[in-house]
């Protein structure tokens, strides 16, 4: 018999890549001492598709569709960053109506993103119901996507110089089928009688009450607070040093929002507030996002009011950038040639480089374009908002319990489409 104490070593195990709380494909190598996390090493790249390299091989316009597939829960915002970078290099600006449409859809996207985040975050912590509620509201907004672009998720709606087309005057309606009778369908169609703007307006009337419902379920919920208050605290200094942006940075108490500080499109003409947290824990990040839902709703209403009153072009007239109208092509040789050149060769961007950033629902989403004057980007770098956030995970969860890993991870709002690119 030996009287030496047995050697105790930390236990290392895999979290993911196939784990419901891993938000896609995250392989997290956790080193634990009992229940306490000593070190976390995220392995990313399982969804790496080399979007940037693919973009270098095809004309600029083709890449807009790839942008949707980066952060696949905030599709149009990704397009926006890319399109802004192109516009910056071209030295053009979209017509003002197109800018309002972009802002409106950016805010719709923000609600889409935050709702999915809220549902998934609550589900990770153990509140099942909220996911179902969140998807109920998401459905209406995805219908808006479909009405305007024909696609529920991967819209490919923004273009350099504007948006693909104007808002539709009629909202598509449900049709009766052997499974759904006339009466049922009439109830669904009640708010779809008017235009898309009427439908969105109706949504914004209902939505604040829904946010109240979510808050009733969570904000003062004792279990919710036990799981989130004081968990994953990030000080403002560390948040800045770690490159955090968006709701994470604001949750730590830094009032930084590109929509206010470096306004793009028409944000400087709209009225909204920036919510800020106090302690920088998971609960504060939750509160910040809840308030952003309300602010986005407020912004959408302002855009709808403006868009109702101000018709106009949604695409610049310059046919070197925007394709000519179908009707013009039937009668004008010039339009025909423009169309042919744009569709086969695409547009050439002037030599140079540009970085355009937007306030994406997850933080600062930037696109850095290097052009050598060709019809394809020479180098495109996507600055994904979630990338530095996930890099900060190790620091955030050291010393926490294993169960808190899930709470912290989902409070960062991670989507692998954009992190792995």
């Amino acid at each position: 018999m030996t009287d030496k104490l047995p050697e105790i070593r930390n236990y290392v195990f895999n979290f993911g890549p196939q784990h419901p709380a891993a938000h896609g494909v995250l392989r997290l190598i956790l080193e634990v001492d009992g229940e306490t996390v000593v070190k976390a090493d995220p392995h990313v790249g399982l969804l790496h598709r080399a979007t940037e390299k693919l973009a270098e091989s095809k004309p600029y316009i083709h890449t807009i569709g790839y942008m949707d597939r980066l952060d696949y829960v905030s599709m149009m915002c990704n397009e926006h960053g890319y399109v802004l970078a192109m516009e910056k290099l071209l030295g053009i600006a979209a017509p003002v109506r197109a800018r309002y449409i972009r802002v409106m859809f950016d805010e719709i996207t923000r609600i889409l993103n935050h709702l999915l985040w809220l549902g998934a975050h609550a589900l990770d912590i153990g509140a099942m119901t909220l996911l179902l509620y969140a998807f109920r509201e998401r459905e209406d907004l995805l219908d808006c996507y479909e009405a305007v672009s024909g696609s529920r998720m991967h819209a490919t709606y923004y273009r350099p110089g504007g948006v693909y087309r104007d808002l539709p005057d009629k909202m598509p309606q449900y049709k009766p089928s052997p499974w759904h009778n006339q009466k049922e369908v009439a109830r669904w169609n009640a708010n779809r009688e008017g235009s898309l703007l009427d439908f969105i307006w109706d949504f914004t009337e209902r939505f604040p009450k829904h946010v109240d419902e979510y808050e009733t379920l969570l904000t003062d919920n004792r279990i919710w607070k036990q799981r989130t208050v004081g968990i994953g605290v990030l000080t403002p200094e560390r948040a800045m040093a770690l490159g955090c942006t968006g709701p994470i940075l604001r949750g730590s108490g830094v009032a930084w929002d590109l929509r206010k500080k470096q306004p793009y499109e028409v944000y400087d003409q709209l009225d909204f507030d920036i919510p800020v947290g106090k302690t920088g824990d998971c609960y504060d990040r939750y509160l910040v996002r809840m308030e952003e839902l309300r602010q986005s709703n407020h912004l959408i209403r302002q855009c709808v009011e403006w868009l109702r009153k101000n018709p106009g072009p949604v695409m610049i007239e310059d046919n070197k950038i925007a394709p000519p109208k179908r009707t013009d092509m039937k009668v004008s040789m010039e339009a025909m040639i423009h169309h042919f050149k744009l569709m086969t060769e695409g547009l050439c961007l002037p030599q140079g480089e540009a970085y355009a950033a937007i306030e994406h629902p997850k933080g600062e989403f930037g696109v850095y374009l290097v052009s050598d004057g060709a019809n394809k980007p020479y180098r495109m770098k996507i600055r994904a908002a979630g990338f530095p956030h996930l890099a900060a995970l190790d620091e955030l969860i050291r010393g926490h319990m294993i169960a808190d890993v899930v709470a912290v991870l989902s409070s960062l709002d991670i989507v692998f489409g954009e992190i792995d690119r």
Binding site: H48, K58, G91, A241, I316, C348, Y355, A374
Partner: protein, 226 residues
Amino acid sequence: MADLHFLQEETNKNFGDWIQRSEIANDELTLEVDRHFLRNLCFMLRDKPKYAFQTLIDVCGVDYLQYGCSEWQTESTTRTGFGRGMKGDFSEVASQWTKPRFAVVYHLLSLENNHRIRLRAFVDDEQPALDSVVDIWPAANWFEREAFDLFGILFKGHPDLRRILTDYGFIGHPFRKDFPLIGNIEVRYDAKLKRVVYEPVSIEPRILEPKVIRHDNRYTGEKSGD
């Protein structure tokens, strides 16, 4: 947004020896930094209150190997067409690039002063290596790993320089311009062997739309909108 010209003057005045070129284009200030002084400059930009760049937004590698190369020469009337799905090497114009092949580009942001700056440091062609800035901005950790993974640029002093986005055991640096778009290795499940096998790619690289460069300045002076 703070005045970029003021920032340009200040940086030129104070760090003139470290900066090779400074340029304002598209409302953005770019400094080309001598790589030996990159860390000194970064410390200054972070700590001096008039710059106060507390946040590193992005680090990315750029490979200038084929800068200015086009696949189809169409400046004047061309006698040859360009069919879809062309195979082989179609670089008709050689690159005019005279600077080193690799560069690392840093985007910095100051929340306090609300301004941005871009730094570019060229690295040696043979041994692409640069000092790491991880101890200045911890955010650089993963960004530098990414640049190492995709371009093979080494960062001296990085605590944990591993691949990040590519597969375990990946060979090569995929974002270099001489790395084929379709890759070198393909992966499939072999039903007979009952495991995943790695093989050389079975497809050939093709060009669908040729890269064309036009210097006719079609867009200069055409500011539209509103």
